[in-house]
Structure formats: C-alpha cells, structure tokens
Symmetry: C2
Amino acid sequence: MSKAIPASVTRLIEAFAQLPGVGNKTASRLTYFLLRAPAQLSENLAQAIAELKSKTRLCSICFNITEEEPCAICADPQRDASQIMVVEEPLDVLAIERTGSYNGRYHVLHGVISPRDGIGPDQLKIRELIKRVQAGSVTELILGTNPGLEGDATAMYIKSELDAAGLHPRLTRLARGLPSGADLEYADAATLTRALQGRQSL
Amino acid sequence: MSKAIPASVTRLIEAFAQLPGVGNKTASRLTYFLLRAPAQLSENLAQAIAELKSKTRLCSICFNITEEEPCAICADPQRDASQIMVVEEPLDVLAIERTGSYNGRYHVLHGVISPRDGIGPDQLKIRELIKRVQAGSVTELILGTNPGLEGDATAMYIKSELDAAGLHPRLTRLARGLPSGADLEYADAATLTRALQGRQSL
C-alpha cells in the first residue's frame, strides 16, 4: 500500500482482511472506524480476541466450545441424555438452541467428510460419537449435518459405522422441504421434490 | 444469548457487532472462524487493534493519520506544496493516492458540515485550513468533499471563509458526471444532468 498509510494501519487492514467475507475495502473501513471510535471499543475488541482462545476449549463429551468441562449442556441433568443431535459446527448448536424446541444433547463433528478438501472421517469426531453410543444410554441420533452431498454422505458414513459396531439406535435426519415463508414459484427443484416426497396429511 | 455459548465467545460476538456493517450473524461467524483458525491469526489481530491507536496520531499540518510528525506526504519535498486537496476522511486520501494521478498535498477535514448530525464548522479542521492558506504558498485548493448536499455545503462554506479572510487561491471541485463503465440507461437524473452540463468537446 502507499505511504499515505502508516504501518500500524496497514497491519490492521491486513489482519482484518484475513477474516472470511472481509475484503480489502471492508478491512479499511473497519480500521478507519476504529481510529475514530472511542479507545474503549478497540480495547474491548482486542481483549475479547486475545481471551477467546485462552479461555475456551472443546467439551470432552460433545466437542462443543465451552469454558467449563464438561460444557453447560452436557452437565445439565435436565437435558435428555438419550437423544444426541449430531451437527457439523458449534454454530449449528447455536441455531438449534435458538429454536428452543430441542432438549437433548449434542455432538459436534467439527466438519464434514469432504474428499475435495482432503477431510476424511478420522479428522472428525466420529470415533468419539460411536464411543458415546457404545456407552449405552443413547436411543436416538438425529443426524443434523447440512442437507446436501457432503452432509448426506457423512450421515450415511455414521450409519455404516454404527452398523459395523452392532449399534442400532434410532437414526433420523432433519426434515427437508420448503422453508417457512418460501414461495413455491422460486423454490428449486430439489427442494420441491423433497417437499412433495415428505408431504404430510392434514 | 443461550448457555450454549461460553461468556468469552459472547463477549467477542458483541464486540464484533459494534463494528459498522457487522450484524449479529456476521459477528458469530467471525468469532467461530477465529476459534478454529490458527492462534497466530487471533494474536496478530488483537495486537494490531491494540497498537492502532497508540502508534498513530493526526499530522499537525494536514490532519491525515500518521505515525510520524509530520506525515510522509507533508514531509515529502517532491509533493507540490502549492496544491491542497481538501477531503472529508483519511480514507479519501487513500482513494486519491491509489489513482497515482495527484502529486499535491492534502487537508483532512474529519467530517463535513451536517446540521442533522449536529456537526458545525468548528468541529472540522476548517480554521486550520484557512491558516495553511494564509501562510502563503498555496495557489490552488481542490475541494474534494463528496458530491452531495453536505459536501457541497462544506465546500461553499470554505469558499466563504476564504473570501472573508481576503484569500483568493484558485478553488476547484472534482468533476461530476458518469462513472467509468456506467450505463446511461441506469444513471440517475442528477448524475446525467451534471454529465450534460460538464460535457467536453472531442
């Protein structure tokens, strides 16, 4: 960049631009915003970033991100331990928790099988999931990986591993169909096909 | 937020969400990205943010952001000191520098007169600009405030202040017209009117 920009400004622009969805222009805008904003705001942000990794870890049971061991959900006796929802990422746990309509436990795989990205089953928390089911109290696994090629393949892989281990909990997938508020006219064919196949009697 | 999220994660999500253009969803995505990314990346970002304010200041001549006093542009004897481009924000300096077609100096107002936001001339670096012109060597002021009501009003205010001080450098405004690559069909009426008024002979 030109010498119109001091090194410390360039450095922050470059650091922001490493974040997903943040291009060079957005990175500049964020940096110059912080330059003008009260110092407190920068201090908070810097400290929150610095503490993020040092204070958090993965729960040894469900592998969600937590500050305590085990995490609040695994430690909660009110949550149904016979039901485990298997999801790809910690953000998925958040999304499900926001619905307020699930009271079981979770298992975070930390990714999905993706030969394209060189990610195989061993890089995911699948072995740990099988062990949780082997331990005995689980009666249903909701395979909540994303609907799509990789999520479907990962769900199928988990099913085959359970079969191979002689484990037969109830296995379910989240329903597919039209999203709430959707317009049939604009729905893609795959979604409409799923909606038809999964139609429910009134 | 729910107890599915550790406090340190919530804290960073909230800090990110203070940034302009970053909503709660983007803030979550950035936070969970940092959780997965190498620690080096978070450390760089936290340090860059922390150092941003401590290492930078405003140049006492042009009020651009700088680490040295005066800034690199004001200190550069190759830059034409008889020409000053007056801009609203440090980012505008960047934009002009990127063109590589300006070799004068700058003056950053740090805003624009905006009664709506309670910003009057005294909160801008206008008095300092008049003093620079009074000092003598300036022969042209390019009033590079944004084209629009507030930018135009600020430019007019500067002109009247110069007149009142008996100062008469050449005053110019950046040309208005169609942006490069624009399509007449989609241009707004104000832009087209300006493009017509400012038409140039071939």
